[in-house]
Amino acid sequence: MQHLIILPVLLPLLTGVALLIHRGGALTLRRTANVLSTIALVVVGVLLVAESTDDAIRYYAVGDWQPPFGIILVLDRLSALMVMLTSVLALGSLLYACAGDDEQGSNFHGLFQLQLMGINGAFLTGDLFNLFVFFEVLLIASYALLMHGGGKARTHAGFHYVALNLLGSMLFLIALGILYGTMGTLNMADMSAVVTTLDTADLGLVKAGALLLLIVFGLKAAMLPLYFWLPRAYAAAPAPIAALFAIMTKVGIYSIIRVYTLIFGEQAGPLANLAQPWVWWLGLATLALGAIGVLSARDMRTQVAYLILVSVGTLLAGIGMHSEAALGALLYYLIHTTLVSGGLFLLVDAIAQQRGKAGARIVQSRTLAQPAILGLMFFAGAIAMAGLPPLSGAFGKAMLLQSATTAQQHWLWPILLGSGLASLIALSRTGSTIFWRASGEKTGVTLGPLRVTGTLMLISCAPLMVAFAGPITAFTQATAAQLLDRDAYVESIIARGDTGGDA
């Protein structure tokens, strides 16, 4: 089906607009529409992944304007994978939200779908300016969702988040302006072809533009000097939204991978592998500081937010290692960390609701209403996040450690393993305080079936990703190979230009 590629953008757009128009409609109806649309998105995601496995790179020329002139959506293994990952994460957090979090404001469901549209669009687009537009779509939805339900902490964290991201968008535009001024195109495949034929006088400018882009993506991904907004914003956001935001940092990671393998990759002449050294060192530093943050957090939500930083640091270091094996390993780790950290955000919220006044703070309190199921899920989530065998975190980290060269091992091994140890210590302290040092009678609401399903769905990917590690790693390794094969990408988009694509 040739129009399949545009469905992940079109479907949430239409559902979102319909939900915004009928914001006063019956809650059950809106919930059903949203859940059905998200399930349809999961199906589309699976179909896209299935379609991408033949290694062909497909594109959809919007309005039949052929590249490099029109805007195109590109489907390769990486974008298909990311779209599917988004939809699965969204389904889990949406199910959780439908248990009551969505009642706090009338626009939750519409904004949720628009957020998905922005994220999917960013993963699929093949045009750098279009990437900016989809960034804005997902950001505008996220501003509103972050403050869903209101409250002092949320508006406050929200203002910082909005101001920072506005600055980021302006830097993005400046970078785009520089790149367009020097290269004369904004189509990624075309830029990749043009970058080899640049005038030497323009090299400095292009380099400045490319590194400005790195700052923008680093801000989205929460790279070292630019991560200070993250713990506060994520800790303040409502749980299902924080869970969905687990994919937002990965939008930054995705953009770094895409731009710095495709445009400024191996073949870019004097600009080849421009960003990798930066990303490597900053990634390691993010990893180390994130681990300290995990240890110092006094609130479970902040702790999970810092765990996200640790995973971002790991992923960035993986990009900096700059080899096919490392890229494949980090993609496996990316799937794991997105779903599990999303699940942990939901779980922490469920725990906090059963602890009365203590909430999410890591202090002694009364016994939880359902210590068994919450405890087991926390145990599984913590093991997966800290990277202990037998769950998926250990697999991802082991593959990453294995793919490091000798020079890289000296830095990566101690920092990555040390941060794993720090996470382990912090999470076991949290777990024992909450589940074992609790006393008093059981009170608080028990978890509804929707909340259990949502949380379980995300946490259970940790054992599932181990059970299906074979096919998943085969897919991610093939994705890495496809990413590094720049010529195939350029040829399938530019060369076919005049014969017409899937329009």
């Binding site: 002092k152 929200g158 910082h160 302006m170 400046i174 367009y180």
Partner: protein
């Protein structure tokens, strides 16, 4: 013309950046607005500054204005406009919720304003 254009953009960007780094929400919003003007001007100039260039393709014209930056800047203006409106409302909401227009949420006013 290039020098004038570059100076204007530079001054706008510098003033915007200075204001965006201030401690109160109103100067921050104004600063972000000025910055987005500077960025729009910059984006507009990336196709090269041409005068008397033809906007639409025609037989007689030898010189064309690059239409793409114009399209880009239009998109950027629309998005920037919406974001300014949003951040103004948000700043007012922060003032109402937190009880202070300081970006760090300090309830205490600066000392010299305390006295007045």
């Amino acid at each position: 013309m290039e020098a004038l254009f570059a100076t204007t953009t530079g001054i706008l960007a510098a003033s915007g950046l200075y204001l965006a780094l201030r401690g109160r929400t109103f100067p921050v919003v104004v600063g972000l607005t000025l910055l987005s003007y500077a960025v729009n001007l910059f984006l507009f100039s990336t196709g090269g500054l041409t005068t008397d260039g033809a906007a639409v393709i025609s037989d007689g014209a030898g010189q064309y204005a690059d239409p793409l930056p114009q399209a880009l800047v239009l998109t950027a203006i629309v998005i920037g406009f919406a974001m300014t409106a949003f951040s103004v409302i948000l700043a007012m909401r922060v003032r109402g919720d937190v009880g202070s227009d300081h970006v760090n949420g300090n309830r205490v006013d600066e000392p010299r304003e305390d006295k007045s």
